[in-house]
Amino acid sequence: MVALLFVLIYHKTISYLEKETDTIIEIEINALSDQYQKNGIYDLVESLKLKLDKSQATSSIYLLTDSRFNSLLGNISQWPKSYDKNKQWVEFNIIGPDSVKQRIKAKLFLLQGGYYLLVGRNIETLKRTKQLILDAIIWGLLLTLLLGLLGGYFVSRGILQRITIITNSCREIIQGNLEKRIPQNHRHDEFDALAETMNTMLDRINVLMTGLKQVTDDIAHDLRTPLSRLRQSLEIGAKEDDPDKAHQIMQSCVEEVDGLLSTFNALLKIASIESSKQAEGKTKVNLQNLINDVYELYQPIAEEKYLHFHCLHMDEPIYIQTNRNLLFQALSNVIDNAIKYTPEHGEVKIKTSMYQDTIQLDILDTGVGIPASDLVHVHKRFYRSDQSRNKPGSGLGLSLVYAICRHLNIEISLENKSVGLKVTFLIKRISSTNDIHS
């Protein structure tokens, strides 16, 4: 690219200089021939003589000959040998005053009356300029190339060093040093950004792994009790002779296994929700209908506990984009808990309100609430506060609710009131313009 540019500059400059020389010669020869035509040979000789006096300064060449090319007047001794009758222009060498060869470019002109006129210019300077420019271009190119190579070498060496550092750090992590992080040199360049991103990724993986380990431990711990209970029952059942009693033991074993299975199902469901893409299974849902359905499903249970169970609704229907089955699951888990932890004759209330495009859905109860120290832990799998340990349940209900909320982009918060617990969901409503289109 640079070379091409240089060639272009060279070509333009040279052709400009050459053209200029040609034009000067042409103007001069035309002027001389005009003079001859108007005033005859003597006038021409006079002006030639004048020009010859100045020729040293202008490096011009003049020669006037007769029809047989015998020199009459001029500053070169003889007509050039390389003369070609058919060409007006000629180039030839002469030996200059200090016996140095000089290049001449000249134009020939046949005057009426058989005289030949030659007007030329010493183009040695032009030739030298040409050479000078060419040299400059070649050196320039070489230097550019050298600088480019050197610069490239140093830059790539720097980059390779950084990559090697990252590679080595990664190797160390692979070999088991999971706490190792990629060093940053705080130059705030792309490599720092890469190192930071990778470190964040490693931290996240670490958190997930710790979480996974915790869950694995919790599963093992929580399933050991029912499994050993099951083993005990089966042992007793195997020794039982009375078929009726054996059958009864079998039935209780089946129930125990069902409980285990539902725990596993809940775990799998949480895992599947956490790993599935957000957009899946979403449809336009009338939130009020959904709340009414949950309310209606749980109403008989609440009635059995003589609870004041009621819904406070907005006047207009509220549409949201969500997965109705998952949202139903989340709401039913929370309401299930509210009913479970509220003593008889208490109150459970579902309240919806709207702030711009956000729907606030509160589920309030007059139950025991959650101790402040436990509030941050309730979303963890198998976490059970001391007061709920003796109630039926797997300790997965709220974990599932939190997983669903994360999946559906719903904000959830838990807050202890003076009496009971308030669970708040913040749900994005379909904005009214979308409403018309869908």
Partner: protein, 226 residues
């Protein structure tokens, strides 16, 4: 019933086929998609159990082909618990029911019988009858032994579903899915309370019970002693 079971996992296949045979059903098995589709199209079956993930031909593809053919073959799809939307996709493509592993055998049998008999049941029935209980689908009136019974709308739907599947075990999840139209796992058995309310209206004060609890499975509506 003659049932086609297409399942590649040997253990699951044996467990299902053994269980169904013990209940007196005839079971034909295939362990890959190609054979499964061939059998489904060539032979007559009362119902088909179709695994979603199969070698050679995907379960979803088999389902589409069967539903596009003129064949009336009820299909119960099985799948490992995966993406949230799989169940909806299966049902949208015409699966008659969808069951996620792990499931209990009672759940499988209950659902299989429900979809197999759906075809035999006249869709335009206006009166459901079991013993002295009558359910008029048009006037939405319920009578037992000539006495009018007042039911709330959901109670009526619940009774209708149970009556339509009389003499069949109906599980709690089946009721939630078909009567309440939500697919979810309740933490407590909310359904039991609804059933006990319905019992209070249908069975209480009459000399025989029609709604029976099947331990570890669900409910069945039938005449006492049958």
């Amino acid at each position: 019933m003659k049932i086609l079971l297409v399942e590649d996992d040997v253990k699951t296949q044996k467990f299902i086929s053994k269980g169904l045979k013990e209940l007196g059903h005839r079971v034909v098995t295939a362990d890959n998609g190609q054979d499964g589709l061939f059998l489904a199209l060539e032979e007559e079956f009362d119902a088909m159990i179709l695994d979603r993930m199969l070698p050679k031909l995907e379960g979803i593809h088999i389902l589409k082909t069967i539903k596009n053919s003129k064949k009336e073959l009820p299909v119960l799809m099985l799948s490992a618990l995966g993406e949230v939307a799989h169940r909806v996709e299966g049902l949208n493509l015409g699966a008659d029911d969808y069951l996620v592993k792990p499931f209990s055998f009672t759940e499988l049998v209950a659902r299989l019988e429900a979809i197999a008999r759906r075809g035999a049941m006249a869709a335009d029935e206006t009166m459901l009858i079991l013993g002295d209980l009558q359910l008029n689908l048009l006037s939405r009136q319920v009578k037992r032994a000539g006495k009018d019974i007042e039911l709330q709308s959901r109670e009526f739907q619940l009774l209708e579903y149970l009556m339509r599947h009389k003499n069949q075990v109906v599980t709690r999840t089946m009721l939630l899915e078909n009567v309440w139209d939500y697919h979810f796992d309740p933490q407590t058995n909310v359904i039991d309370v609804h059933i006990s309310r319905l019992r209070g209206k249908i069975d209480k004060g009459f000399n025989s019970e029609l709604i029976h609890t099947v331990r570890g499975a669900g409910y069945i509506m039938k005449l006492d002693g049958t």
